[in-house]
Amino acid sequence: MRKETNPEDIDGMHSAAGILTSTGGMTSHAAVVARGWGRCCVAGAGEIHIDEKARKIKINGKTFTHKDVLSIDGSTGEVMVGEVETQTPKLSGDFSTVMKWTDKYGSMKVRTNADTPADAKRARDFGAQGIGLCRTEHMFFEGERIMAMREMILAENEADRKEALTKLLPVQRKDFVGIFTAMKGLPVTIRLLDPPLHEFLPHDDKSQAEMASRLGVKRSVVKNRVLALHESNPMLGHRGCRLAVTYPEILDMQVTAITEAVIACKKKKVDAQAEIMIPLVGTANELKLLGDRVRVVMAEVKEAKKYTGKLNILVGTMIEIPRAALTADQVSEHADFFSFGTNDLTQMTFGYSRDDINTFLPDYLNEEILPRDPFQTLDTTGVGQLVEMGVQKGRSTKSKLKCGICGEHGGDPESIEFCHKVGLDYVSCSPFRVPIARLAAAQAALGA
């Protein structure tokens, strides 16, 4: 139960049975994350007043504490007192018949967004044909890892940073081996670290003190680092590939972990198909610099591990900044694949912040300024042009450039139809939407 959620809450959200927030909407952080896990979530329940400090909530004059049980229905938005009995879905033989049809008639592949071996396995059971987006940052939040991550962020020089990163290397490698194994024979696109570093640090006094004592530093050190990392507009700040440009050792560690994991899998005869994705690229030069570095690190690891076989690791980029789409012919010179991150592409094309859109979106829909929420259904006239142009320009340089989409739109039937039309090779969506996307992809192919 939160006013709103942020990535810090990830652990709590993952262990929660359901998520209820008083602000936000269908595409806010809580909703997006919950959807990926198939977790029930009601976001933006404005009648609910949440007092996070007192651990109390008030709904229509009634007060509830952590001892009370509430039932929330994610499909209707209803909030009920007490535990309401549920029924689990039974997937019938008819369902698998329909899924067989989709394979027969669909031409686009459907991948999934998954960050853990468990998610990957579940999506595979639903028929996912690969992972289109594996976010590595979620791996840093779990349990002890966050401490090593924070140590790395607090480090004042490269040597200290590298030391902290060495602690993260084995856990990342283990995660990747798990995911490659779950997805053997299918491609897995791994996105290098994307969020700004401040998201990994605690913001309240108590947690900051806790962190300081765990890491054996003064409280002021933590506090100052948090202050130093503060940005007025983090969405457009020091994140994505910009982190890798300033702190290449983070990229080195992640690429090492991926390459080592692929080698480990190959040795066990597990067919790992890794694709390394560099996020938030806006210029060809960014991708040239970082792509070259990725390839150098891969070669180094191969040599260190004395591995002589082929790894076939692709290196590509996310197209989520309009400039990258506009200059896709140059960007694709350094890319094996493009993945359109249409969440950010929509934010930056419209100039809307996804997390703040709910203050004005209802009016925009009512006045028919927008036909629908552009974060739910791809705006084909505007943002779609950038996608189409990105595909065309990209393939003008590299005719076999693999193109896909990994935003929330990858699970929306209308947007999928558009993806088919502009010639994408795959869409990627949250595990629970995989069957929907497969059906929509088949319908798009049949309707064309």
Partner: protein, 462 residues
């Protein structure tokens, strides 16, 4: 200016489409022009189903009505008169007749279904003379006066803006006078007195007497249906449902059949397959001795359609045959409405049935197996987004109902609640399927003033 409009109207295309034994003019690709209801009435007539004859006034006429400053276009009433003559001839009945009077229903019907959003008038054609005719024809005087008072009430309320409550008060006075607890306890004299007092209420609040000329009644009713296209709730419904690009509503004028003519009469609604599970089983409910609106009002509880065998096996078997014929013809699940008048079955409506995600999957697979549709069509038939319903756990409906009953519901998106209400289980099911299928949430009809927008919960995790 007026001349110009008249000239335009005279060049207007065909305004009415007849359906009946003599001829059926509508075709099954004219949904935009005839509305869903009008097109399907024509189609059912064409394939030989028992449909009470009538005619449809096109959506283009509705468009002209609005372009013509909310006046019926010239030439319309001539066309209507011609169609009424055809109806009279086919049925051997006459408007305003004292022996065999013609009575009609007047209903809206746009190209996209908008349940309950626009106006309907029943029993039109009754007046002081034809009420006697109806009594003679049916041998049931009380029934005739009951029908008449229902018309005055409905016509007053829907066409002339006379508040329903004025009629209610008058009814209460009559009930008190005859010591009647329920509407049905009022004797014949009471019903006759009620008609007189309803006419007074009508005159008092409308300023003019209740129109005795059936053609005048029809003209006013058609206008009222057109006007209801732009009433607030209809506009809001179209906003919420993202319905755009329609010319307007069509008007269906259809000869009346009565489900309340005694214990050999009845009315019902049904799906050709179970819309919640998809099972290939005739699924619906009916009420003996009742009109359609009694089912909606929920005063009495309808029986499952399977129990009809005990009441009238012949009708049940006929319905099963019609069900198969409709599915073969439309190659999809149909949602039908029917009425039985004195042991004779009439079909009043058919349309593609809304269904849950689970039902959509089962129905598509079954219909492919039955060779009713091809595999590719099966793929296209399932709304992809509705698969969500199959993949996530849900609250068991009974447990949820119980929680709500005990006041456990704390907060909910108020989307569409209040627009529609229904007490019949089948109608509730229809509504719940409509809601299940609703793509977006937070499209409460209300404009989001700060208060209402915060009172709204958004739907998620789908």
């Amino acid at each position: 200016m007026a001349k110009k409009v008249a000239k335009k109207a005279s060049r207007a295309p065909k305004m009415t489409y007849y359906f009946g034994k003599g001829k059926t003019e509508g075709k099954n690709d004219q949904k935009q022009l005839l509305g869903g209801k009008g097109m399907n009435l024509a189609e059912m007539t064409r394939i030989g189903l028992p449909v009470p004859p009538g005619f449809t006034i096109t959506t283009e006429v509705c468009d002209l009505y609005y372009k013509n400053k909310k006046k019926l276009p010239k030439g319309l009433m001539d066309a209507v008169n011609k169609n009424v003559k055809m109806l009279e001839k086919e049925l051997g009945k006459k408007f305003g007749d004292t022996k065999l009077p013609l009575l009609v229903s007047v209903r809206s019907g746009a190209a996209v279904s908008m349940p309950g959003m626009m106006n309907t008038i029943l029993n039109l054609g009754l007046n002081d003379a034809s009420v006697v005719g109806l009594a003679n024809a049916t041998g049931n005087e009380r029934f005739a006066y009951d029908a008449y008072r229902r018309l005055i009430n409905m016509f007053g309320d829907v066409v002339c803006g006379v508040g329903h409550e004025y009629f209610e008060h008058a009814f209460d006075r009559i009930k008190a006078k005859y010591h009647a607890k329920e509407d049905n306890d009022v004797p014949l004299e009471g019903m006759i007195a009620l008609c007189e007092s309803y006419k007074k209420v009508f005159r008092k609040h409308y300023g003019k007497p209740f129109p005795q000329d059936p053609i005048k009644q029809l003209e006013l009713a058609v206008e009222a249906v057109f006007a209801s296209w732009m009433q607030m709730r209809a506009i809001r419904y179209r906003q919420v449902e993202n319905i755009t690009g329609l010319l307007g509503t069509a008007v269906n004028v259809q000869s009346m059949v009565f489900g309340n003519m005694g214990d050999d009469s009845g009315t019902g609604v049904a799906f050709t397959r179970d819309p919640s599970t998809g099972e290939n089983k005739f699924y619906g409910e009916f009420l003996i001795n009742a009109q359609g609106e009694d089912v909606v009002a929920g005063i009495r509880t309808p029986q499952p359609v399977a129990e009809m065998t005990k009441w009238n096996k012949k009708i049940y078997d006929q319905l099963l045959k019609i069900k198969d014929k409709l599915e073969k013809h439309y190659r999809d699940v149909q949602d039908i409405e029917f009425t039985i008048e004195k042991g004779k079955l009439y079909m009043l409506q058919t349309r593609n049935g809304k269904r849950t995600g689970a039902a959509a999957v089962k129905i598509a697979c079954d219909m492919v197996k039955e060779k009713l549709i091809k595999e590719k069509e099966g793929v296209m038939r399932i709304p992809a987004g509705d698969l969500t319903q199959l993949l996530l756990p849900s609250f068991s409906p009974s447990a949820k109902a119980k929680a709500k009953k005990t006041g456990g519901l704390l907060s909910v998106c108020q989307r569409r609640l209040g627009l529609l209400s229904a007490s019949s289980p089948l109608l509730r099911l229809r509504l719940s399927i409509v809601r299940l299928r609703a793509k977006k949430c937070c499209s409460c009809g209300k404009k989001p003033t700060p208060k209402t927008s915060t009172a709204c919960t958004r739907r998620l995790a789908s």
